[in-house]
Each structure stands twice: as C-alpha cells, then as structure tokens.
Amino acid sequence: MTDIAFVRSEMTAAQPAPRSNAGVAAWLRRNLFANATDTVLTILAVVFLLWIIPGLYGFLIGRAVPPGGTVEQCRVENVGACWAYVASEIEFFIYGFYPMAEYWRPNLVFALLALLGAPLLIPHAPLKVINAVLFFVVFPIASVVLLAGGMFGLRYVPTEQWGGLLVTLIISVVGISCALPIGILLALGRQSKLPVIKSLSVCFIELVRAVPLITVLFMASIMLPLFMPQGTTVDKLLRALVGVTLFASAYMAEVVRGGMQAIGRGQYEAAQALGLGYWRRMGLVVLPQALKHVIPGIVGTFISLFKDTSLVYIVGMKDLLEAVKTKNDAIEWAAPTQAVTGYIFAAAVFWIFCFSMSRYARFWERRLDTGHKR
C-alpha cells in the first residue's frame, strides 16, 4: 500500500483548447478553407461578393437620388435608384385613387388591423375569443363601412377608387379570413364517411387546386355576373374576393386535413366515448388540436395568398403592383431607372410582409416542436 510513490489528490486545471482549434483562424479554417474545394468555393464567393456588393451599394445608395430630389437629377447618365420618384408617388402606391381628404379612413383601417391583428398573433395574449370575434366579424364590417362610406355622414367612395397597398391588404386579409372557415368545412367534408359529402368536397378541392389562380380569377370576373340573376351587378372587387377566397379555401382545406390526420385515433375515440356528438367532437376535441398544429401551414397559405393577390392585376384590379406599374409608365418621372426603382420598392414591400410572416411561422414551428424528433 505504502509503496505507491505518488497519488494525485486534486484535478488538473482544464487546459485551453489547442491553438489550431480555437479562435478566428480555426473558425476560418474549419468553415472556409477546410479543403481544396472549399478554398476554391470561398474564393469564388468572395469574388462574387466583391463584385455585387459595391454594385448594389452604388445603385441603391451611392449613386441614387434620395427622396426629395428632382426628376432632372434622375435623368443623368449612370444614375442609381430614383428614390425621389417613389417618395413622390408613395400616396398613390398606398391608397390608389382614394380621395386625399379621406385618407384618414384607410389609415384608421390600417391601425385597426394592426391593433386587432397583433394580439391575435401573440400566443399568450389575453381575451383571445373576444379578440378573434372583433377581428373576424366586427373589423371587416367596420372596414367596409369606413372605406366605402355612404352612411354615418361619410362620403361615398366607390371601390373603383380604392387601390394600391390598401387593395392588396383587403384582398389578402378578407381572403384568408373567409378561406379559413370554408377550408375547415371542406376538410371536415373530405374526412367525412358520408359518400355524397365526401365526393363533393374532394371534387371541389382537387378541381380548384389543379387549375392556376388566373383561370379562377377569370372565372370569377367574367362568369360570376353570368351566374347571377339578371340585373344584378357584382362589384369588381367583390368578384376578385370571391375568386381568391374559393382558391385559398381549397389549399386551406388540405392544410387543415393534414392537421386532422396528425391527431391520434385515440382522440376521436375518446371524444366518442365521452358521448360527444359530431360537431362537439370536432369543435371541442379534434379541431383545437389540429388547428394549433397547422398554424405554420396556415401562415404559409397566407403568405402565398398575399403574393398571389398581385395576380388580380391581370383581371383589371388596382392593387399595389398595378399602382407601381401604372406610375412606372408615367411620363413626368420618366428616367432610366424609374421602372427598376418602382419594382424594387414593390418587391421590398412584399418581401417585408412575407418574410416577417415566414419568421412568424418558424416561431410557431419551434413552439410546437416538442422535441420528439430524431
């Protein structure tokens, strides 16, 4: 026992990682220059960035004409983006031909949208039910009254004068709000054991999903007036809304169905064992779970619907894209980079909306991810 010469009684202090494994140089070596191929790729990427970043900077900022500039400044050789053009037409891009004296009405609608929409998106915000009723029932009615007017002493503004971002937002928000309940009904129909209901739902969903949105919009704008009793006129905006809603509800139905299929059979059976009828079984047990699971999918449908609203331009509606395209041809701001600047502006607006929504979907995915994945 005693001939053990040395027994270490305390732990050695941890050594710092070897030089080759820590610090900036190691990170660079690991992520950029791991082997020959990597090095070549890195060099190519750096060359590409060196080429594109100064070019983009020069175009967007360096050589650009800032807001407040004149059209003459935009008409010089080798000019960058003409932000002065966007700034001077910004009201048209947002409101279209909406009368200037009444801008407070769309502004109020935007404010309501933000005030009622934001708490709806926050998972733990209180008063969810009241909020949802306000958003999906009260808000649309209030918006129509506010925007169209003709009552409560508000001046009447026909929908032909609405335009720009206002119309884009109206179509997408109304489209998704109406598509969700219709989509849920269609999904329930598709899962139904009743053959007539099932086949009707399947036919509708598959037919609509098989054709491009343009043909649905054409159908809504050309054939809807034919379908109505003689003498009825259907507002153009309403026609587009019908088309967009029908289209989105078919996609929504598939998203909801995915959620319902992910619910274990035990849930259905347990609800049945409790003696719940069909609607309660669905409304109290299945749908709350299914809908929560497909929130990312619903947001995804909303993103594609939001992008697709730009197609109403083809059937003659005045949305944001139409507003930008119209002004791009306007002669008073004619300049070499006028069109490019206009499209970059529109792209940026769409991008901000869609990107933030996709981040929101990602946030829900992470929340729902219970860590059971491999």
């Binding site: 992520n31 009743l194 598959e206 098989a210 054409f218 992008k307 990107f355």
Partner: protein
C-alpha cells in the same frame, strides 16, 4: 367524420333522426338537393343572361377562322387559321415554357439546395439569402422586373450586347445560333441509341453479376467509354456534320439563328429562378431527412464517399424529395399562365384572352382552359402515386 355504428345493427329499426345511419342519409340528401338546386339556379340564370345578351353557346366556334396573329408559335399560324389551331399554339407554348423552365429550375434548385447544406459558411449563407429573397417576392412582380425593367431596357438592335457562342441580346429578344444537322446525322442518332442500349445491358449484367458473385464492375466508366467510342466512330466514318446557323446583324435586324422573343426569355428566367428557390428548400429538407446514423452506418460498412452518397443517402433522400418536387413542377406549369401578363402567347393569353374576347364564349373557353390544367394535374398525380407505391418503405 360521422362514425357509423354498423358493427352491431340495432335489432329494430324505427325511423328516428337520432339513428346515425338515417341521419347520415338525411344529411346527404339535404346537401345533394341544395347543391343541385344551386347548380340549377346558376344554369338557369346563365341561360337567361346569355339570351338577354343575344349570345349563342357551344363549341362550334373552334372551327371558325381566328383572324388574329400570334407573335410566337412552334408551327405556322396566321390570321386564316382556326380557333382550335390557336388553342394548340397556346398549349404547345405553355408546354414549351414549362419544359424549359423545369430543366433550368431543377439544375438551379438542386445546386442551391445542396449549397445551403455546404459546410462552407459563405456558400451556405449566399444560398440562404437567395432562397429567402426570391421566394418572398411575388412571381408576377419578378416577371415584370425581368420583362419591363431588364429586357425592355436592353439596347436597340444595332447596339446588341454580344454574349459568348455568337449569341446576342437586345430589345427584340435573345438570338442564339441554330444547329443544322445534315442528312448523315441520322446515323449518329442511331449510334446514340445503340450506345444507350449497350449501356443498359452492361448495367443489367453488372447488377446480376454483383448479386451472384459480389464483385462490382465499373458500369459508368465502361458505358461512357463505349458510348463515346461508338458515337465518335459513327460520326467520323459517316462524315456527318453539324453546322451552326449564326445570327448576323443586318441593317435592321438579325438574320438567321434562333430568335427567342423577350417574353419567352423573361418567362423562363422568372419561372426558373422563382421555382428554384422552392426546389432548393425541397432538396435541403430531403437530404436533412436522412438521419446521420445512415451516414455513419455506411462509413462503418467501409463504403467510399461517393458510394455512400450514391447507394445510401441519395436513394433515401429522393424518396422524400420526389413528391414535393413533382408538385413544384406542376406549380411551375400552372404559374406559366402568368406569361399572359407580359404578352407571352401561352394558353391563358391566347385562349382565355384573345379568343374569349373575340368569340364571347366565356363558359366554353374557360372550361376548356381549366380542363387542360386539370388533365395535366391529374396525370401528374397519377404518375406520382405510381412512383410513391414503388419507392414506399415496406413496413412491418
């Protein structure tokens, strides 16, 4: 889902609305009648409206002279052609742009999808930026950008921008050399066929030998060698030649070569770039779905790097990638209808646009257009189901 209690039918069946079977029938009859009434109402309204507008109906207009020109078609079409020929022109133009778009979108999408998974920080970041930018901007806006802001601001014909391989781009589109095959070239085609058959045969023989003896055979190299040898020999011996008809600038326009109108170029550009961002995500998801254990197991078995990819990772990833990939192809085909907005004469433009305006047969024209897309979709999903049943995991 109404779950019917059919396992044990009740002994006496009295009519009661609480009986789930009877209730199911009542519901269905009710819904059926409502839908039928709705349809009758619509058809009735339409008939009255058409009568009031003094419009006729029917498909007889297809055999009337169209009387309009189409700017781009793969076969001769002029003002004296019939409406059904216009329909065919639209259809072929749609298919043309869809096929070209699919090829480019696949190449670009796979490249970017793989780049997103690269261990190289810069490359994966660049791919992410591409995907997140492109897929959050509406396709129509991108098409407008390419068409109105890029191609339409190209220089005039006399100042055309020269590209490599004798190609030129200007306001009127893209001009590329057109290959001309002489008569002897049929032999080279035949040789190509022979080589393909030989390759297939070798692959089959090698697989059987592998199963029998466990010895591998370099199929790819042998096949490539045989193909090159056969084709080169035929080419040289037969004296076949390919010449290129190069576009040459005349006084006013280019003469010769292949002229691709700017609408087609913009549409192919827009569709490929947009769809590629979605394909990239599909590819990334597919590759990530193969768990790392598979890689490790393949390494443990002693497989080389590219065998590991070819035999273990890719087959499993493809199973996840192919179904959404097909639906992306279908989306691209449907999205090609946006060409109508920039004046590319595809189905919606030619048919739902010009033809509808001239004939006023709204219902027939829209129904026919929808039918085409419906057939394309159903055909694709049938193919997809067949593929899925072939590659599906055989589970216990």
């Amino acid at each position: 889902m109404v779950v019917l209690d059919t396992a044990q039918p009740p002994p006496r069946r009295r009519f009661s609305l609480n009986d789930p079977v009877i209730r199911g029938v009542v519901y269905q009859v009710l819904v059926g009648v409502l839908v039928a009434l709705f349809l009758v109402w619509i058809v009735n309204n339409t008939a009255i409206n058409l009568k009031a507008q003094n419009k006729t109906s029917g498909f007889d207009f297809l055999w009337k002279t169209a009387g309009f020109n189409i700017s781009f078609s793969l076969f001769p079409f002029d003002r004296t052609s019939y409406y059904w020929e216009a329909f065919l022109v639209g259809l072929t133009n749609t298919i043309l742009v869809a096929v070209i778009g699919i090829v480019f979108a696949t190449i670009l999408g796979f490249t970017i999808g793989i780049a997103r998974l690269s261990s190289n920080y810069l490359i994966s970041r660049l791919a992410t930026v591409y995907v997140e930018t492109i897929r959050n901007i509406p396709l129509l806006l991108q098409l407008f950008f390419w068409y109105f802001a890029v191609l339409k601001t190209m220089p005039a014909v006399r100042d055309s921008i020269a590209l490599p391989f004798d190609s030129f781009v200007n306001q009127r589109g893209l001009f590329v050399p057109r290959p001309i095959f002489d008569n002897q070239f049929g032999l080279v085609g035949l040789a190509l066929l022979v080589a393909a058959v030989a390759w297939f045969g070798i692959a089959r023989w090698a697989r059987l030998r592998l199963e029998r003896t466990g010895q591998r055979f370099p199929v790819f190299l042998t096949g490539l060698g045989i193909s090159v040898a056969v084709i080169a020999a035929t080419w040289l011996l037969s004296g076949a030649a390919v010449t290129f008809d190069v576009p040459v600038l005349n006084r006013f326009n280019f003469k010769g070569g292949l002229e691709l109108p700017p609408e087609l170029v913009a549409l192919v550009f827009g569709l490929s770039i947009y769809t590629a961002s979605f394909i990239a995500e599909t590819v990334r998801g597919g590759i990530q779905s193969v768990s790392h254990g598979q890689t490790e197991a393949a390494e443990a078995l002693g497989l080389k790097d590219n065998d590991r990819l070819r035999l273990v990772i890719i087959p499993q990833a493809m199973r996840v990638i192919v179904p959404p990939l097909t639906s992306q192809y279908l989306n691209l085909t449907k999205n090609s209808s946006l060409g109508a907005a920039i004046g590319y004469p595809e189905l919606v433009n030619v048919f739902t646009g010009t033809t509808l305006n001239q004939t006023g047969r709204a219902i027939e024209v829209i129904a026919l257009t929808m039918l085409v897309y419906l057939i394309l979709s159903l055909g694709t999903s049938a193919l997809m189901n067949w593929y899925n049943s072939r590659v599906a995991l055989v589970e216990r």
